[in-house]
Protein backbone atom coordinates (compact mmCIF):
# COMPACT_ATOMS: atom_id res chain seq x y z
CA UNK A 1 0.00 0.00 0.00
CA UNK A 2 2.73 2.40 -0.92
CA UNK A 3 3.09 4.51 -4.03
CA UNK A 4 1.63 7.98 -4.17
CA UNK A 5 2.11 7.57 -7.94
CA UNK A 6 -1.40 8.79 -8.56
CA UNK A 7 -0.51 12.19 -7.15
CA UNK A 8 2.16 12.84 -9.74
CA UNK A 9 -0.17 12.58 -12.76
CA UNK A 10 0.48 15.55 -15.06
CA UNK A 11 -2.36 18.03 -15.12
CA UNK A 12 -2.63 17.87 -18.92
CA UNK A 13 -3.58 14.19 -18.77
CA UNK A 14 -6.54 15.07 -16.59
CA UNK A 15 -8.37 16.77 -19.47
CA UNK A 16 -10.96 14.84 -21.46
CA UNK A 17 -12.35 11.34 -20.99
CA UNK A 18 -9.08 9.64 -20.16
CA UNK A 19 -8.27 12.29 -17.64
CA UNK A 20 -11.64 11.76 -16.00
CA UNK A 21 -10.97 8.04 -15.68
CA UNK A 22 -7.55 8.68 -14.22
CA UNK A 23 -9.11 11.10 -11.75
CA UNK A 24 -11.67 8.46 -10.67
CA UNK A 25 -8.87 5.92 -10.08
CA UNK A 26 -6.85 8.60 -8.30
CA UNK A 27 -9.73 9.40 -5.95
CA UNK A 28 -10.10 5.69 -5.16
CA UNK A 29 -6.40 5.31 -4.41
CA UNK A 30 -6.46 8.47 -2.33
CA UNK A 31 -9.39 7.20 -0.27
CA UNK A 32 -7.68 3.85 0.31
CA UNK A 33 -4.51 5.55 1.45
CA UNK A 34 -6.44 7.93 3.71
CA UNK A 35 -8.31 4.93 5.18
CA UNK A 36 -5.04 3.12 5.89
CA UNK A 37 -3.55 6.24 7.45
CA UNK A 38 -6.58 6.96 9.63
CA UNK A 39 -6.88 3.37 10.94
CA UNK A 40 -3.16 3.24 11.70
CA UNK A 41 -2.93 6.80 13.02
CA UNK A 42 -5.88 6.61 15.42
CA UNK A 43 -5.09 3.01 16.36
CA UNK A 44 -8.64 1.83 15.64
CA UNK A 45 -9.41 -1.73 16.72
CA UNK A 46 -9.27 -4.22 13.83
CA UNK A 47 -12.58 -5.61 15.12
CA UNK A 48 -14.33 -2.40 14.15
CA UNK A 49 -12.46 -1.27 11.07
CA UNK A 50 -9.98 -3.38 9.11
CA UNK A 51 -7.00 -1.73 7.39
CA UNK A 52 -6.96 -1.89 3.58
CA UNK A 53 -3.67 -3.79 3.84
CA UNK A 54 -5.27 -6.44 6.09
CA UNK A 55 -8.23 -6.70 3.70
CA UNK A 56 -5.85 -7.21 0.77
CA UNK A 57 -4.00 -9.93 2.65
CA UNK A 58 -7.29 -11.66 3.62
CA UNK A 59 -8.49 -11.49 0.03
CA UNK A 60 -5.35 -13.02 -1.45
CA UNK A 61 -5.26 -15.75 1.20
CA UNK A 62 -8.94 -16.60 0.68
CA UNK A 63 -8.68 -16.68 -3.08
CA UNK A 64 -5.54 -18.86 -2.98
CA UNK A 65 -7.15 -21.38 -0.65
CA UNK A 66 -10.19 -21.57 -2.97
CA UNK A 67 -12.46 -20.80 -0.04
CA UNK A 68 -14.17 -17.84 -1.75
CA UNK A 69 -14.59 -19.23 -5.24
CA UNK A 70 -17.17 -21.85 -4.38
CA UNK A 71 -19.32 -19.46 -2.34
CA UNK A 72 -18.99 -16.71 -4.88
CA UNK A 73 -20.03 -19.12 -7.64
CA UNK A 74 -23.10 -20.27 -5.70
CA UNK A 75 -24.27 -16.72 -5.04
CA UNK A 76 -23.76 -15.66 -8.65
CA UNK A 77 -25.52 -18.78 -9.91
CA UNK A 78 -28.54 -18.20 -7.65
CA UNK A 79 -28.67 -14.58 -8.68
CA UNK A 80 -28.42 -15.23 -12.43
CA UNK A 81 -30.90 -18.13 -12.57
CA UNK A 82 -33.33 -16.36 -10.23
CA UNK A 83 -33.07 -13.14 -12.24
CA UNK A 84 -33.69 -14.93 -15.52
CA UNK A 85 -36.73 -16.78 -14.19
CA UNK A 86 -38.16 -13.74 -12.39
CA UNK A 87 -37.56 -11.35 -15.28
CA UNK A 88 -38.97 -13.79 -17.88
CA UNK A 89 -42.10 -14.44 -15.84
CA UNK A 90 -42.54 -10.73 -15.09
CA UNK A 91 -42.21 -9.88 -18.77
CA UNK A 92 -44.50 -12.71 -19.89
CA UNK A 93 -47.21 -11.87 -17.39
CA UNK A 94 -46.92 -8.18 -18.29
CA UNK A 95 -47.53 -9.03 -21.95
CA UNK A 96 -50.47 -11.31 -21.13
CA UNK A 97 -52.09 -8.74 -18.86
CA UNK A 98 -51.68 -5.90 -21.35
CA UNK A 99 -52.94 -8.03 -24.25
CA UNK A 100 -55.95 -9.36 -22.35
CA UNK A 101 -57.19 -6.24 -20.60
CA UNK A 102 -59.99 -7.85 -18.63
CA UNK A 103 -57.72 -10.43 -17.02
CA UNK A 104 -55.34 -7.61 -16.13
CA UNK A 105 -58.06 -5.60 -14.40
CA UNK A 106 -59.02 -8.66 -12.36
CA UNK A 107 -55.45 -9.41 -11.32
CA UNK A 108 -54.18 -5.90 -10.76
CA UNK A 109 -55.40 -5.36 -7.15
CA UNK A 110 -53.74 -8.62 -6.10
CA UNK A 111 -50.49 -7.73 -7.84
CA UNK A 112 -50.42 -4.32 -6.16
CA UNK A 113 -51.05 -5.99 -2.78
CA UNK A 114 -48.22 -8.47 -3.29
CA UNK A 115 -45.95 -5.77 -4.65
CA UNK A 116 -46.31 -3.61 -1.55
CA UNK A 117 -45.21 -6.55 0.58
CA UNK A 118 -41.45 -6.57 1.32
CA UNK A 119 -40.39 -9.74 -0.48
CA UNK A 120 -37.48 -10.48 1.86
CA UNK A 121 -40.01 -10.97 4.65
CA UNK A 122 -41.31 -13.98 2.72
CA UNK A 123 -37.82 -15.52 2.59
CA UNK A 124 -38.20 -17.60 5.84
CA UNK A 125 -41.42 -19.09 4.48
CA UNK A 126 -39.79 -19.91 1.15
CA UNK A 127 -36.86 -21.58 2.91
CA UNK A 128 -39.38 -23.61 4.87
CA UNK A 129 -40.96 -24.74 1.60
CA UNK A 130 -37.90 -25.18 -0.61
CA UNK A 131 -35.20 -26.11 1.91
CA UNK A 132 -31.73 -24.78 2.65
CA UNK A 133 -30.35 -25.57 -0.80
CA UNK A 134 -29.95 -23.40 -3.87
CA UNK A 135 -33.63 -23.74 -4.93
CA UNK A 136 -35.05 -21.56 -2.17
CA UNK A 137 -32.56 -18.76 -2.98
CA UNK A 138 -33.50 -18.91 -6.66
CA UNK A 139 -37.18 -18.62 -5.71
CA UNK A 140 -36.50 -15.58 -3.50
CA UNK A 141 -34.44 -13.90 -6.24
CA UNK A 142 -37.11 -14.70 -8.85
CA UNK A 143 -39.84 -13.29 -6.61
CA UNK A 144 -37.95 -10.08 -5.92
CA UNK A 145 -37.03 -9.45 -9.59
CA UNK A 146 -40.46 -10.41 -10.91
CA UNK A 147 -42.32 -7.27 -9.83
CA UNK A 148 -40.18 -4.43 -11.19
CA UNK A 149 -40.06 -6.20 -14.56
CA UNK A 150 -43.80 -6.88 -14.52
CA UNK A 151 -44.72 -3.31 -13.55
CA UNK A 152 -42.36 -1.77 -16.12
CA UNK A 153 -43.53 -4.13 -18.87
CA UNK A 154 -47.11 -3.12 -18.12
CA UNK A 155 -46.36 0.58 -18.09
CA UNK A 156 -44.17 0.32 -21.22
CA UNK A 157 -46.86 -1.50 -23.16
CA UNK A 158 -49.52 0.95 -22.00
CA UNK A 159 -47.71 3.77 -23.82
CA UNK A 160 -49.50 3.75 -27.15
CA UNK A 161 -48.52 6.12 -29.92
CA UNK A 162 -51.87 6.56 -31.67
CA UNK A 163 -50.26 7.47 -35.01
CA UNK A 164 -48.17 4.28 -35.05
CA UNK A 165 -51.22 2.17 -34.21
CA UNK A 166 -53.17 3.90 -37.01
CA UNK A 167 -50.31 3.10 -39.38
CA UNK A 168 -50.47 -0.59 -38.42
CA UNK A 169 -54.26 -0.59 -38.84
CA UNK A 170 -53.92 0.96 -42.30
CA UNK A 171 -51.48 -1.84 -43.18
CA UNK A 172 -54.07 -4.40 -41.94
CA UNK A 173 -51.50 -5.69 -39.45
CA UNK A 174 -52.52 -8.56 -37.21
CA UNK A 175 -52.52 -8.19 -33.44
CA UNK A 176 -49.25 -10.10 -33.24
CA UNK A 177 -47.62 -7.93 -35.95
CA UNK A 178 -48.72 -4.74 -34.20
CA UNK A 179 -47.21 -6.12 -31.01
CA UNK A 180 -43.92 -7.18 -32.60
CA UNK A 181 -43.36 -4.20 -34.90
CA UNK A 182 -44.73 -1.35 -32.77
CA UNK A 183 -45.82 -2.04 -29.21
CA UNK A 184 -42.89 -4.12 -27.99
CA UNK A 185 -40.12 -1.89 -29.44
CA UNK A 186 -41.98 1.16 -28.06
CA UNK A 187 -42.03 -0.48 -24.61
CA UNK A 188 -38.43 -1.76 -24.70
CA UNK A 189 -36.77 1.27 -23.00
CA UNK A 190 -39.24 1.11 -20.09
CA UNK A 191 -38.82 -2.67 -19.79
CA UNK A 192 -35.05 -2.24 -19.60
CA UNK A 193 -35.45 0.36 -16.87
CA UNK A 194 -37.26 -2.39 -14.94
CA UNK A 195 -34.46 -4.87 -15.64
CA UNK A 196 -31.89 -2.39 -14.34
CA UNK A 197 -33.79 -2.13 -11.06
CA UNK A 198 -34.36 -5.89 -10.92
CA UNK A 199 -30.71 -6.84 -11.36
CA UNK A 200 -29.72 -4.83 -8.28
CA UNK A 201 -32.56 -6.40 -6.29
CA UNK A 202 -31.49 -9.86 -7.47
CA UNK A 203 -28.21 -9.64 -5.58
CA UNK A 204 -29.96 -8.27 -2.48
CA UNK A 205 -32.46 -11.14 -2.68
CA UNK A 206 -29.73 -13.78 -2.95
CA UNK A 207 -27.76 -12.42 0.04
CA UNK A 208 -30.79 -11.90 2.28
CA UNK A 209 -32.06 -15.42 1.48
CA UNK A 210 -28.62 -16.77 2.39
CA UNK A 211 -28.76 -14.85 5.69
CA UNK A 212 -32.07 -16.51 6.48
CA UNK A 213 -30.84 -20.01 5.89
CA UNK A 214 -28.19 -21.53 3.65
CA UNK A 215 -25.14 -23.76 3.69
CA UNK A 216 -23.12 -22.01 1.02
CA UNK A 217 -22.88 -18.57 -0.55
CA UNK A 218 -21.35 -15.18 0.19
CA UNK A 219 -24.19 -14.38 2.60
CA UNK A 220 -23.17 -17.42 4.67
CA UNK A 221 -19.52 -16.26 4.60
CA UNK A 222 -20.52 -12.82 5.89
CA UNK A 223 -22.32 -14.41 8.83
CA UNK A 224 -19.37 -16.72 9.53
CA UNK A 225 -16.89 -13.84 9.41
CA UNK A 226 -19.15 -11.88 11.76
CA UNK A 227 -19.24 -14.80 14.20
CA UNK A 228 -15.43 -15.07 14.05
CA UNK A 229 -15.05 -11.29 14.52
CA UNK A 230 -13.10 -11.32 11.23
CA UNK A 231 -13.77 -7.77 10.03
CA UNK A 232 -11.24 -7.98 7.20
CA UNK A 233 -13.03 -11.01 5.71
CA UNK A 234 -16.34 -9.17 5.89
CA UNK A 235 -14.84 -6.31 3.91
CA UNK A 236 -13.45 -8.76 1.37
CA UNK A 237 -16.93 -10.18 0.80
CA UNK A 238 -18.41 -6.70 0.54
CA UNK A 239 -15.87 -5.94 -2.18
CA UNK A 240 -16.89 -9.13 -4.01
CA UNK A 241 -20.56 -8.19 -3.71
CA UNK A 242 -19.90 -4.70 -5.05
CA UNK A 243 -18.06 -6.19 -7.99
CA UNK A 244 -20.83 -8.71 -8.72
CA UNK A 245 -23.43 -5.95 -8.54
CA UNK A 246 -21.40 -3.69 -10.80
CA UNK A 247 -20.79 -6.42 -13.39
CA UNK A 248 -24.47 -7.40 -13.43
CA UNK A 249 -25.46 -3.78 -13.89
CA UNK A 250 -22.96 -3.26 -16.68
CA UNK A 251 -24.16 -6.51 -18.30
CA UNK A 252 -27.77 -5.33 -18.40
CA UNK A 253 -26.70 -1.95 -19.74
CA UNK A 254 -24.62 -3.60 -22.42
CA UNK A 255 -27.63 -5.72 -23.41
CA UNK A 256 -29.80 -2.61 -23.38
CA UNK A 257 -27.51 -0.82 -25.80
CA UNK A 258 -27.58 -3.85 -28.09
CA UNK A 259 -31.34 -4.31 -28.02
CA UNK A 260 -32.44 -0.66 -28.06
CA UNK A 261 -29.89 0.38 -30.67
CA UNK A 262 -32.15 3.12 -32.03
CA UNK A 263 -32.32 5.00 -28.70
CA UNK A 264 -28.52 5.02 -28.60
CA UNK A 265 -28.44 6.32 -32.15
CA UNK A 266 -30.78 9.15 -31.29
CA UNK A 267 -28.79 10.01 -28.19
CA UNK A 268 -25.48 10.19 -30.02
CA UNK A 269 -26.92 12.65 -32.50
CA UNK A 270 -28.09 15.17 -29.98
Amino acid sequence: MTGPASVSVPAAALSGRNGERLAIVGILLGLIIAWEVVVRGFDISPLIFAKPSDIAVAMVRGLRSGLYWEHLGITVLQMVIGFMIGASLGFALGVVISEFGRLGRLMFPYLVAIQSLPKVAVAPLIILWFGFGIESKIVVVALITFFPVLINTLSGLSIVDAARIDLMRIMLASRWQTFAYVRLPSAAPTIFAGLNVAVVLALTGAIVAEFVGAQRGLGVLVLQAQANLDTAAMFVILIFLAMIGLSANLGVRWLERRVIYWAQRRESEQ
Binding site: A163, R164, L167, M171, W262
Partner: protein, 285 residues
Protein backbone atom coordinates in the same frame (compact mmCIF):
# COMPACT_ATOMS: atom_id res chain seq x y z
CA UNK B 1 -54.39 -3.39 -62.06
CA UNK B 2 -55.80 -0.09 -63.33
CA UNK B 3 -59.33 -0.22 -64.70
CA UNK B 4 -60.36 1.20 -68.05
CA UNK B 5 -62.04 4.05 -66.17
CA UNK B 6 -58.83 5.12 -64.50
CA UNK B 7 -56.92 5.04 -67.76
CA UNK B 8 -59.54 7.29 -69.20
CA UNK B 9 -59.29 9.76 -66.37
CA UNK B 10 -55.54 9.52 -66.59
CA UNK B 11 -55.75 10.59 -70.22
CA UNK B 12 -58.07 13.37 -69.25
CA UNK B 13 -55.68 14.60 -66.61
CA UNK B 14 -52.96 15.01 -69.15
CA UNK B 15 -55.26 16.85 -71.58
CA UNK B 16 -56.09 20.49 -71.15
CA UNK B 17 -58.87 19.38 -68.85
CA UNK B 18 -61.36 22.22 -69.35
CA UNK B 19 -64.34 19.86 -69.42
CA UNK B 20 -63.81 18.91 -65.77
CA UNK B 21 -65.56 22.05 -64.61
CA UNK B 22 -68.94 20.68 -65.67
CA UNK B 23 -68.92 17.81 -63.16
CA UNK B 24 -71.30 18.06 -60.21
CA UNK B 25 -70.90 16.24 -56.88
CA UNK B 26 -74.01 14.15 -57.55
CA UNK B 27 -71.92 11.86 -59.68
CA UNK B 28 -72.83 8.53 -61.21
CA UNK B 29 -72.12 6.06 -58.38
CA UNK B 30 -70.98 3.31 -60.71
CA UNK B 31 -68.08 5.42 -61.94
CA UNK B 32 -66.83 6.72 -58.62
CA UNK B 33 -63.98 5.09 -56.75
CA UNK B 34 -64.77 6.61 -53.37
CA UNK B 35 -68.10 8.09 -52.45
CA UNK B 36 -69.27 9.74 -49.26
CA UNK B 37 -73.00 9.24 -48.95
CA UNK B 38 -74.64 11.59 -46.42
CA UNK B 39 -71.75 11.12 -43.99
CA UNK B 40 -72.33 12.75 -40.60
CA UNK B 41 -70.17 12.38 -37.56
CA UNK B 42 -70.80 13.52 -34.01
CA UNK B 43 -68.69 13.11 -30.92
CA UNK B 44 -69.10 13.95 -27.27
CA UNK B 45 -66.95 16.81 -26.09
CA UNK B 46 -66.78 18.72 -22.80
CA UNK B 47 -69.90 20.70 -23.75
CA UNK B 48 -72.06 17.85 -24.98
CA UNK B 49 -72.52 16.49 -28.46
CA UNK B 50 -70.55 18.20 -31.22
CA UNK B 51 -71.46 17.67 -34.84
CA UNK B 52 -68.13 17.45 -36.70
CA UNK B 53 -69.49 16.51 -40.12
CA UNK B 54 -72.95 17.26 -41.47
CA UNK B 55 -74.25 15.14 -44.35
CA UNK B 56 -71.20 15.19 -46.58
CA UNK B 57 -71.82 14.01 -50.16
CA UNK B 58 -68.73 13.75 -52.29
CA UNK B 59 -67.42 11.36 -54.94
CA UNK B 60 -63.97 10.75 -56.34
CA UNK B 61 -63.40 9.09 -59.72
CA UNK B 62 -60.56 6.67 -60.38
CA UNK B 63 -57.28 8.50 -60.99
CA UNK B 64 -58.69 11.83 -59.91
CA UNK B 65 -56.94 14.26 -57.54
CA UNK B 66 -59.38 15.84 -55.11
CA UNK B 67 -58.43 18.34 -52.42
CA UNK B 68 -60.51 19.42 -49.45
CA UNK B 69 -59.61 22.83 -48.01
CA UNK B 70 -60.79 23.95 -44.64
CA UNK B 71 -59.61 25.74 -41.55
CA UNK B 72 -58.29 23.80 -38.58
CA UNK B 73 -60.93 21.84 -36.72
CA UNK B 74 -63.50 21.78 -39.51
CA UNK B 75 -63.69 17.99 -39.42
CA UNK B 76 -61.74 17.34 -42.61
CA UNK B 77 -59.37 14.91 -40.90
CA UNK B 78 -62.38 13.08 -39.48
CA UNK B 79 -63.71 12.74 -43.02
CA UNK B 80 -60.41 11.20 -44.13
CA UNK B 81 -60.40 8.75 -41.24
CA UNK B 82 -63.89 7.68 -42.23
CA UNK B 83 -62.71 7.17 -45.82
CA UNK B 84 -59.77 5.07 -44.60
CA UNK B 85 -61.94 2.83 -42.44
CA UNK B 86 -60.17 3.87 -39.24
CA UNK B 87 -63.35 5.55 -38.01
CA UNK B 88 -67.01 4.67 -38.50
CA UNK B 89 -69.34 7.60 -39.27
CA UNK B 90 -72.27 8.26 -36.94
CA UNK B 91 -74.66 8.13 -39.90
CA UNK B 92 -74.20 7.68 -43.64
CA UNK B 93 -71.40 5.68 -45.23
CA UNK B 94 -68.20 5.87 -47.21
CA UNK B 95 -68.33 3.59 -50.25
CA UNK B 96 -65.27 2.27 -52.02
CA UNK B 97 -66.00 0.63 -55.35
CA UNK B 98 -69.61 0.52 -54.21
CA UNK B 99 -68.79 -1.38 -50.99
CA UNK B 100 -69.30 0.21 -47.60
CA UNK B 101 -65.93 0.91 -45.96
CA UNK B 102 -65.91 -0.77 -42.55
CA UNK B 103 -62.18 -1.34 -42.09
CA UNK B 104 -58.93 -0.28 -43.79
CA UNK B 105 -58.32 -1.82 -47.20
CA UNK B 106 -55.10 -2.94 -48.83
CA UNK B 107 -55.83 -0.93 -52.00
CA UNK B 108 -56.22 2.34 -50.09
CA UNK B 109 -53.05 3.98 -48.79
CA UNK B 110 -52.81 6.72 -46.22
CA UNK B 111 -50.25 9.40 -45.47
CA UNK B 112 -50.39 11.12 -42.12
CA UNK B 113 -49.40 14.64 -41.13
CA UNK B 114 -46.39 13.16 -39.39
CA UNK B 115 -44.46 10.68 -41.52
CA UNK B 116 -44.77 8.03 -38.74
CA UNK B 117 -41.46 6.28 -39.38
CA UNK B 118 -40.61 3.60 -36.82
CA UNK B 119 -37.22 4.53 -35.31
CA UNK B 120 -36.10 0.88 -34.90
CA UNK B 121 -36.25 0.29 -38.65
CA UNK B 122 -34.08 1.78 -41.37
CA UNK B 123 -35.67 3.89 -44.08
CA UNK B 124 -36.01 0.98 -46.49
CA UNK B 125 -37.31 -1.32 -43.75
CA UNK B 126 -39.93 1.30 -42.91
CA UNK B 127 -40.88 1.72 -46.53
CA UNK B 128 -41.26 -2.02 -47.15
CA UNK B 129 -43.09 -2.67 -43.87
CA UNK B 130 -46.56 -2.85 -45.50
CA UNK B 131 -45.28 -5.64 -47.77
CA UNK B 132 -43.72 -7.43 -44.80
CA UNK B 133 -46.98 -7.12 -42.85
CA UNK B 134 -48.95 -8.43 -45.83
CA UNK B 135 -46.44 -11.33 -46.09
CA UNK B 136 -45.70 -10.27 -49.68
CA UNK B 137 -42.55 -10.70 -51.75
CA UNK B 138 -40.07 -8.75 -49.62
CA UNK B 139 -37.11 -9.13 -52.00
CA UNK B 140 -39.06 -7.67 -54.92
CA UNK B 141 -40.48 -4.97 -52.66
CA UNK B 142 -36.96 -3.94 -51.59
CA UNK B 143 -35.89 -3.55 -55.22
CA UNK B 144 -38.97 -1.51 -56.06
CA UNK B 145 -38.58 0.54 -52.86
CA UNK B 146 -34.93 1.25 -53.70
CA UNK B 147 -35.97 2.46 -57.16
CA UNK B 148 -38.72 4.70 -55.77
CA UNK B 149 -36.49 6.08 -53.00
CA UNK B 150 -33.89 7.03 -55.59
CA UNK B 151 -36.64 8.65 -57.62
CA UNK B 152 -37.74 10.92 -54.74
CA UNK B 153 -34.15 11.95 -53.98
CA UNK B 154 -33.41 9.57 -51.13
CA UNK B 155 -30.56 7.72 -52.84
CA UNK B 156 -27.90 7.05 -50.23
CA UNK B 157 -30.42 7.10 -47.39
CA UNK B 158 -31.88 3.60 -47.84
CA UNK B 159 -30.17 2.18 -44.78
CA UNK B 160 -30.20 5.38 -42.74
CA UNK B 161 -32.17 5.70 -39.52
CA UNK B 162 -35.35 7.80 -39.95
CA UNK B 163 -33.94 10.27 -37.41
CA UNK B 164 -31.13 11.08 -39.85
CA UNK B 165 -33.68 12.41 -42.35
CA UNK B 166 -35.21 15.88 -42.47
CA UNK B 167 -38.97 16.28 -42.15
CA UNK B 168 -39.40 16.61 -45.91
CA UNK B 169 -37.26 13.54 -46.59
CA UNK B 170 -39.25 11.50 -44.08
CA UNK B 171 -42.50 12.53 -45.72
CA UNK B 172 -41.11 11.51 -49.12
CA UNK B 173 -40.26 8.12 -47.65
CA UNK B 174 -43.83 7.92 -46.31
CA UNK B 175 -45.15 8.59 -49.83
CA UNK B 176 -42.94 5.80 -51.18
CA UNK B 177 -44.25 3.50 -48.44
CA UNK B 178 -47.84 4.26 -49.43
CA UNK B 179 -47.19 3.87 -53.18
CA UNK B 180 -45.33 0.56 -52.78
CA UNK B 181 -48.59 -1.31 -52.16
CA UNK B 182 -49.88 0.11 -55.49
CA UNK B 183 -53.02 1.65 -53.98
CA UNK B 184 -55.97 2.74 -56.10
CA UNK B 185 -56.61 5.60 -53.72
CA UNK B 186 -54.20 7.61 -51.62
CA UNK B 187 -55.57 9.49 -48.62
CA UNK B 188 -53.36 12.36 -47.47
CA UNK B 189 -54.00 14.11 -44.17
CA UNK B 190 -52.21 17.47 -44.32
CA UNK B 191 -49.06 15.65 -45.35
CA UNK B 192 -46.93 18.78 -45.60
CA UNK B 193 -48.46 20.69 -42.70
CA UNK B 194 -45.38 20.24 -40.52
CA UNK B 195 -42.90 21.36 -43.18
CA UNK B 196 -41.45 24.80 -43.75
CA UNK B 197 -42.87 26.85 -46.63
CA UNK B 198 -39.96 26.29 -49.02
CA UNK B 199 -39.84 22.51 -48.51
CA UNK B 200 -43.61 22.44 -48.76
CA UNK B 201 -43.66 24.07 -52.19
CA UNK B 202 -40.97 21.70 -53.41
CA UNK B 203 -42.93 18.72 -52.06
CA UNK B 204 -46.06 19.98 -53.84
CA UNK B 205 -44.25 20.00 -57.17
CA UNK B 206 -42.93 16.50 -56.52
CA UNK B 207 -46.31 15.20 -55.41
CA UNK B 208 -47.91 16.56 -58.59
CA UNK B 209 -45.34 14.66 -60.62
CA UNK B 210 -45.68 11.45 -58.57
CA UNK B 211 -49.48 11.50 -58.65
CA UNK B 212 -49.56 12.16 -62.39
CA UNK B 213 -47.14 9.26 -62.97
CA UNK B 214 -48.73 6.71 -60.63
CA UNK B 215 -52.29 7.19 -61.82
CA UNK B 216 -53.80 6.48 -58.42
CA UNK B 217 -56.60 8.67 -57.14
CA UNK B 218 -55.71 11.08 -54.34
CA UNK B 219 -57.85 12.66 -51.66
CA UNK B 220 -55.82 15.44 -50.09
CA UNK B 221 -56.81 17.25 -46.91
CA UNK B 222 -55.10 20.61 -46.50
CA UNK B 223 -55.49 24.05 -45.04
CA UNK B 224 -53.31 25.59 -47.73
CA UNK B 225 -55.32 27.16 -50.55
CA UNK B 226 -52.43 27.29 -53.01
CA UNK B 227 -51.56 23.66 -52.32
CA UNK B 228 -55.13 22.54 -53.03
CA UNK B 229 -55.38 24.58 -56.24
CA UNK B 230 -51.93 23.55 -57.47
CA UNK B 231 -52.45 19.81 -56.99
CA UNK B 232 -56.13 19.05 -57.45
CA UNK B 233 -58.47 18.38 -60.33
CA UNK B 234 -61.29 19.47 -58.07
CA UNK B 235 -61.17 21.36 -54.78
CA UNK B 236 -63.88 21.31 -52.15
CA UNK B 237 -64.16 24.09 -49.61
CA UNK B 238 -65.31 22.96 -46.19
CA UNK B 239 -66.87 25.13 -43.51
CA UNK B 240 -66.26 24.35 -39.84
CA UNK B 241 -68.66 23.23 -37.13
CA UNK B 242 -70.47 21.40 -38.45
CA UNK B 243 -68.28 20.45 -41.41
CA UNK B 244 -70.18 21.06 -44.63
CA UNK B 245 -69.11 21.35 -48.25
CA UNK B 246 -69.46 25.04 -49.07
CA UNK B 247 -68.36 24.93 -52.70
CA UNK B 248 -66.91 22.61 -55.28
CA UNK B 249 -64.35 24.29 -57.54
CA UNK B 250 -63.01 22.60 -60.65
CA UNK B 251 -59.33 23.31 -61.28
CA UNK B 252 -58.90 23.16 -65.07
CA UNK B 253 -55.18 24.00 -64.99
CA UNK B 254 -53.02 22.18 -67.53
CA UNK B 255 -51.03 19.07 -66.61
CA UNK B 256 -48.29 18.26 -66.03
CA UNK B 257 -48.17 20.98 -63.44
CA UNK B 258 -44.90 22.57 -62.41
CA UNK B 259 -43.57 25.69 -60.73
CA UNK B 260 -44.72 27.79 -63.71
CA UNK B 261 -48.33 26.76 -63.03
CA UNK B 262 -48.26 28.91 -59.90
CA UNK B 263 -47.44 32.01 -61.92
CA UNK B 264 -50.41 31.77 -64.31
CA UNK B 265 -53.31 34.23 -63.91
CA UNK B 266 -55.75 31.29 -63.86
CA UNK B 267 -53.97 29.90 -60.79
CA UNK B 268 -54.27 33.23 -59.00
CA UNK B 269 -57.94 33.54 -59.94
CA UNK B 270 -58.74 30.06 -58.66
CA UNK B 271 -56.87 30.72 -55.41
CA UNK B 272 -58.86 33.90 -55.00
CA UNK B 273 -62.10 32.02 -55.57
CA UNK B 274 -61.23 29.60 -52.77
CA UNK B 275 -59.96 32.35 -50.50
CA UNK B 276 -63.29 34.22 -50.57
CA UNK B 277 -64.65 31.51 -48.25
CA UNK B 278 -62.06 32.34 -45.61
CA UNK B 279 -62.32 36.13 -45.51
CA UNK B 280 -62.80 36.09 -41.77
CA UNK B 281 -59.52 34.22 -41.33
CA UNK B 282 -58.81 30.51 -40.96
CA UNK B 283 -57.00 29.01 -43.91
CA UNK B 284 -53.67 30.31 -45.04
CA UNK B 285 -52.53 31.26 -48.52
Amino acid sequence: MRSAGSDESQARRHSEGGELSAVSPAINAARSLLEFSAVSHAYYGAHGEILALDRIDLAIRPGEFVAIVGSSGCGKSTLLRIASGLLAPTTGAALFDGDVVVRPRSDVGMIFQDAVMLPWFTVIENVTLPIRVALGDLAAARLEAARLLDLVGLAGFHDAAPSELSGGMRQRAAIVRALLSKPRLLLMDEPFGALDALTREQMNIELARIAEASGCAVLLITHSISEAVFLADRTFVMTPRPGRIAEEIAIPLARPRAAETMMSPDFAALCHRVRRHFQSGGAEA
